[in-house]
Amino acid sequence: MSCKELVELVTDYLEEALPREERLQFEQHLSLCHGCVNYVEQMRVTVKTVGALHEESLPPEARSALLDAFRDWKKG
């Protein structure tokens, strides 16, 4: 497995979706290649960082329109 091939398998690896044989090759490659270790770590950091995004709040007019709708709904 080359570095170029490994980078295409990182998500399958992180999702534990690699067949056993490929997973072993993947891990063997990592044990010998610090560039790919760094790459996989960068992908992990990317996932973690995306997960820490705070959502934008919605436009205030839309928000108050939705809350108005909620009050109407509540009245039945």
């Binding site: 960082t49 928000r63 909620f70 509540k74």
Partner: protein, 218 residues
Amino acid sequence: MDSHPLRDPLAEQNEGELVAALRAGDEAAFASLVDRYHASLVRLARMYVRDPAVAEEVAQETWLGVLAGIDRFEGRSSLKTWLFRILTNRAKTRGERERRSVPFSSVTPDSDEPAVDPERFQGDAERYPGGWKESPQPWEGDPEERLLAGEVRALILDAIEQLPPNQRAVITLRDIEGFSSDETRNVLDVSETNQRVLLHRARSKVRRALEQYLGETE
């Protein structure tokens, strides 16, 4: 996958209480849901409707759908899956009606897109074909912490914004919303394999954007 329990009103332990609060007309409960999920709903709607203003409308209609349906919600799926399914159903209908819908095949990935620029690997005539020309280096500092500065946050949102709609939808559900792959497949009607391919491409592009920003290799 983390499911962001601290800021997620739909964390499972709260779900029953939340449904009860909505049925009882608790405005704060409704507002917390809207604040938390509206942006993701809009982002996902854009997989089916191209016009951002229409996507915004579809998301707003989804909230009305939640109110209309909450009394009949039986908890067979999680509330979160239910919410996003209402959204995708409405967005599909809207997309078809306006004949702006992206063809059905758009849920499947397009042809190959390498995760990393092929130029970064050695060619066949070089010593290690397919090996890095220059190894990636560890990133300095912690981008997650630097998110607080706002700049990285904008950069990532921009990178996600530039993804094809199907990749944007998958990374939104999986990595922003913390959906499992099963939940994601359920919401998007996409196969396990395609879901993973889309996620891989989306994450790879966001990684590249972070790498460029962090200035390690460019």
